[in-house]
Amino acid sequence: MIIITLVALLLTACNPTPTPGPTALPDPRALVTEAMRATRATDGFRLIIERGGAPVYIDQLNTIEFLRAQGQFVLPDQIQTTVKIKLAGVVGQAELVAAGLDQYLSHTTLTGGVWFKFIFLPGFDPGTMLAEGGGLERALTTVKDLGLVGVEAKDGTEAYHLRGVGVGADVAAFTLGLVASYDVEVDAWIDVATKRVVHLEVVENNRPLPEGETEPPVWTVELYDYNDAGLAVEIPEDAVEPESTPTLVPTANPAGTGS
C-alpha cells in the first residue's frame, strides 16, 4: 500500500498540473480599439518626440529644423513642450503651448522670455492626437497590413508591438504636425498591463529627401507618466499678440563685424 502511494506521489510529481500555455495574442484591430479607449480614459501623459534621419523643417523656407520636444499632454487638447530647434546651425529651445488651435511661444532670446500668441506650427491641433475615430486611432485602424509583431520589452514595459502602413496626416499630431501626408511606416507599442500606448515610431520613407540626405526622417514618440499628479498645462493668459507676422529668418550680419 505504501509502495502504491509512493508511486502515485511520484507520478503526480512527474505530471504536475499543466501550466497555462502562452496567452493567445489578441486581434490587432481589437487591440488598437482597446488601447485607444484606455489611453483616452487617462487625464494625460508626458511625452518625448525625437526626430532622426533626414532633417524636417518647421517653416516653409526650410530654415528652422526640428530636433526634439519634451513635455506633457493633457486631454483632450492641451500640450506644453520644450521644443529643440536648429536655426542657421545653432541649436535653441523654445517653450510651446497649444490648446486646441491656439498656440503660444516663448523664447529667451527671440521673445525675451515673453509669451507670444501666434501660429508657430500651422495645422497642428493637439485635439486630434487621441480624438475618437481620428488621429492615432484612425492611423492604426486604417493601416494596411496591420500586424501584431509580438510581445516585447519597450522602455522597461512589456508591450504588444503592432506594425502597419498608415497615412502620415493621421499621426501628424504626435509629431507637432510635422509628418507629411505620405504613407508612413508605423510601429506602435501598447502596454500589456494597462493597454495604453507607450511608444510610437514613424518612418517617413515616402517623403522626398533634401539634397544629400539618404536616410528618411524617423520619428520616435515616447508616452509615459500617465495620470501623473503633476500634469498641468498652463495657458499663458498675458501672452502678447505680435503686431505683424513674425520674422523667423535672420538677415545676414545684423551687427556687422570688425575688420
Partner: protein, 552 residues
C-alpha cells in the same frame, strides 16, 4: 626624506626632464584648448544655446578645478608611494580622460543614458553627451594636474639642490607655455580641420574637434612606455610619514563646493524676465558657499595642526609669501576675464555658424596677443625683481594691466579692429606677465630649501584657484546680465528675429565691457597686497632664509 642616489649622467637627467615635461605641456595645453574648441563642441553635440553657456562652462571650470585640486596633494602622494608609480598612473589617467572626451558622444553617453533611464529619468541625449565630455575633462585634469607637482618632486630626486632651479623653471615654463598656447593651437587646428573637411579630405566624424583629444593618446602611450623604461633604474625615495587624507578631502570639498556655489546662480537665469525673478538664486547656492568656506576653514585648521601637512600653511604668515599669494590669486582672476571674454566676443560677431572655425582661429590669434606678451614679460619681470625687489615689478605690472583692461572696458563696441583689440590685450597681458616672476620668486624664496618643489606647485595652484573662482562667478554674473538686459530690451519689442539677434549682440558686448572694467577693478584691488609685499630683494630674503616674518 631619503634621497635617491644621483648616479644618472647629466644627459640622462635632461632626457628624463624632457620626457616628463611633454605630458605636463600637453596637460596644460588642454587646459585652454577648450576655449577654441567649445563653440564647435556645442554645435556638434546640439546643445541649446540657452543652456550652453552655463552647462558648457563646466568643460572649462571642471578641468580647472580638478587640475588645481589634484595638484594640491599628488606631490605628497608621490613622496609616500613613489614618483615613478604615481607619474605613470597619472599619465594613464590623462590618456583615459582624453579618450573619454574624444568619444564622449559615443559609448560613454549610451552608458550614461542607460543609467539615467534605469533611474526613471529620460534625459536629452545631447545634454548627457555634454555631461560625458565634462566627466572626461575632469578625468583628464586629475591626471594632468597631478603630473606638475610629481614632476617637480622628480626634479628634487634627480638633481642636487644647487642645480634644481633651472629644471624647476623648465617644468613651470612647460606648464605656462602649454596653457598660453592652448587656445591658439586649438584655433589653428579647428580651422585646419575645417578646411580639410571642406576640401573633402576628411570624412570620419572623429576627425573633427575630437582629434585634438585623440592625439593625446598615442603621444601619451609613447611617453608612458619611455618614462616607464627610463625611470626604471631610479631608486624611488619613499618618505616615512602619513598621507594627510583629511586635508586632501577638505581642500577638494572646498574647491568643488565654492565653485558650485558661485556658479549656481546661473540656473536662476533660465527663462527669467525681470530683475525680481533674479532675486533668488537656487536653494543649494548658499549651503554650497557656506559648506565650501567651512571646508576651507577646516583645511586650514587641520593643516596647521597636522604633523605631515599637504602644504606648510605657516608660510602664509610670512609677509612676503602671504601678500604674494593673495596677489597671485587676483592675477589669476583677472587673467580669466581676458581668456573668457575674447572668444565670446568673437563668436557673437559671427552670424553664421559655418564660420565657427574662422571664429576659433580669430579667438586663438587674439588670445595670442594676450598670452605671448604675458609669457615674454616674465623675463623683464625677473630682471626688475633682481634689481628692485618684488614689490615694484608686481605693482607696475598690475598698473599696466589695469590700464589695458580699462581701455578695453571703455572702448570696445563689438566692431573694433583686430589691431586695436590686439594692442589693448597686449597691454593687459604684458602687465599680468610682469607679475609672474616676482610673485614666484617671493613665494619660493620664502620657503625652506626642501619645500621649494611643493611651493612652486602651490604658486601655480593659487593662480589656478583664482582662475576657477573667476570662471564660476563671472559666468554667473555675465549670464544674469545678458538675460536681464535682453529681457529688458526684447520683452517690450515686437517679435522679430533680426531685432532679437541684434539685441543679443549689443547686450553681449555691453556685458563684455563690464567684465573688462571688472578686470581693471580686480587689478586695482590686487595692488593693495602687492604694495604690502615690501621692498625686499631676493638676495636679502635668501640671506636669512627662510624668513620667519616680514622681509622689509
Amino acid at each position: 626624506m631619503t634621497t635617491m642616489p644621483r648616479t644618472l649622467h647629466p644627459r640622462n637627467r635632461r632626457l628624463i626632464l624632457a620626457l616628463i615635461c611633454l605630458p605636463v605641456f600637453i596637460g596644460a595645453l588642454d587646459l585652454t584648448i577648450i576655449s577654441a574648441v567649445l563653440p564647435a563642441v556645442v554645435i556638434d553635440l546640439e546643445i541649446p544655446l540657452e543652456t550652453s553657456l552655463d552647462d558648457a562652462a563646466w568643460a572649462v571650470s571642471g578641468y580647472l578645478i580638478a587640475y588645481a585640486v589634484t595638484m594640491s596633494f599628488m606631490g605628497r602622494v608621490s613622496d609616500l608611494v613613489g614618483r615613478r608609480r604615481v607619474f605613470l598612473i597619472c599619465l594613464v589617467i590623462f590618456i583615459a580622460g582624453s579618450w573619454l572626451v574624444a568619444t564622449c558622444d559615443q559609448g560613454f553617453t549610451d552608458l550614461l543614458v542607460a543609467i539615467a533611464r534605469q533611474a526613471g529619468d529620460r534625459p536629452d541625449r545631447s545634454n548627457v553627451a555634454l555631461m560625458a565630455l565634462i566627466i572626461g575633462r575632469v578625468v583628464q585634469a586629475l591626471g594632468a594636474g597631478a603630473m606638475v607637482p610629481v614632476s617637480m618632486a622628480l626634479v628634487g630626486d634627480l638633481f642636487p639642490p644647487e642645480q634644481r632651479a633651472q629644471p624647476l623653471g623648465v617644468i613651470a615654463a612647460a606648464d605656462t607655455i602649454g596653457w598660453v598656447l592652448g587656445s591658439v593651437y586649438g584655433g589653428v587646428m579647428v580651422k585646419w580641420l575645417s578646411d580639410l573637411r571642406t576640401a573633402g579630405a576628411l570624412q570620419s566624424p572623429f576627425f573633427d574637434w575630437q582629434i585634438l583629444f585623440f592625439i593625446n593618446i598615442p603621444i601619451g602611450i609613447v611617453v608612458l612606455a619611455v618614462t616607464w623604461w627610463v625611470l626604471r633604474g631610479t631608486a624611488t625615495p619613499t618618505e616615512k610619514g602619513r598621507f594627510d587624507y583629511l586635508g586632501a578631502v577638505f581642500i577638494t570639498l572646498a574647491h568643488v563646493a565654492l565653485n558650485l556655489g558661485l556658479g549656481a546662480s546661473t540656473e536662476a537665469t533660465s527663462g527669467v524676465t525681470s530683475f525680481d525673478e533674479l532675486s533668488q538664486p537656487p536653494e543649494y547656492a548658499a549651503p554650497m558657499l557656506v559648506g565650501g568656506l567651512a571646508a576651507l576653514g577646516l583645511f586650514i585648521w587641520w593643516e596647521l595642526r597636522h604633523h605631515d601637512p599637504l602644504h606648510n600653511l605657516r608660510l602664509f604668515a610670512r609677509r612676503v609669501y602671504g601678500t604674494a599669494a593673495v596677489t597671485n590669486f587676483f592675477v589669476g582672476f583677472a587673467l580669466m576675464i581676458g581668456l573668457v571674454s575674447v572668444p565670446i566676443l568673437i563668436n557673437v560677431r559671427q552670424t553664421d555658424t559655418t564660420q565657427l572655425d574662422k571664429a576659433a582661429l580669430e579667438s586663438g590669434l587674439l588670445l595670442f596677443w594676450l598670452m605671448i606678451p604675458m609669457a615674454l614679460a616674465a623675463l623683464p619681470g625677473g630682471w626688475l625683481t633682481s634689481r628692485y625687489g618684488y614689490r615694484a615689478p608686481v605693482a607696475l605690472g598690475l598698473a599696466i594691466a589695469l590700464v589695458g583692461f580699462a581701455l578695453m572696458g571703455l572702448s570696445w563696441t563689438g566692431n573694433d579692429s583686430y589691431v586695436m583689440m590686439a594692442l589693448q590685450l597686449t597691454i593687459a597681458g604684458a602687465g599680468l606677465g610682469l607679475t609672474f616672476s616676482p610673485i614666484s620668486a617671493a613665494a619660493v624664496n620664502s620657503a625652506a630649501e626642501h619645500e621649494r618643489g611643493s611651493v612652486s606647485a602651490l604658486v601655480i595652484m593659487i593662480r589656478l584657484t583664482g582662475m576657477t573662482i573667476s570662471m564660476s562667478s563671472l559666468t554667473t554674473f555675465a549670464l544674469r546680465r545678458v538675460t536681464v538686459l535682453t529681457a529688458a530690451v526684447t520683452g517690450s519689442a515686437t517679435f522679430d528675429m533680426n531685432a532679437a539677434t541684434h539685441t543679443v549682440f549689443e547686450v553681449t558686448v555691453q556685458v563684455i565691457r563690464e567684465l573688462m572694467l571688472l578686470g581693471a577693478g580686480v587689478c586695482l584691488i590686487a595692488l593693495i597686497p602687492a604694495l604690502l609685499m615690501g621692498a625686499a630683494k631676493a638676495r636679502e630674503q635668501l640671506g636669512g632664509e627662510p624668513q620667519p616674518a616680514s622681509s622689509d
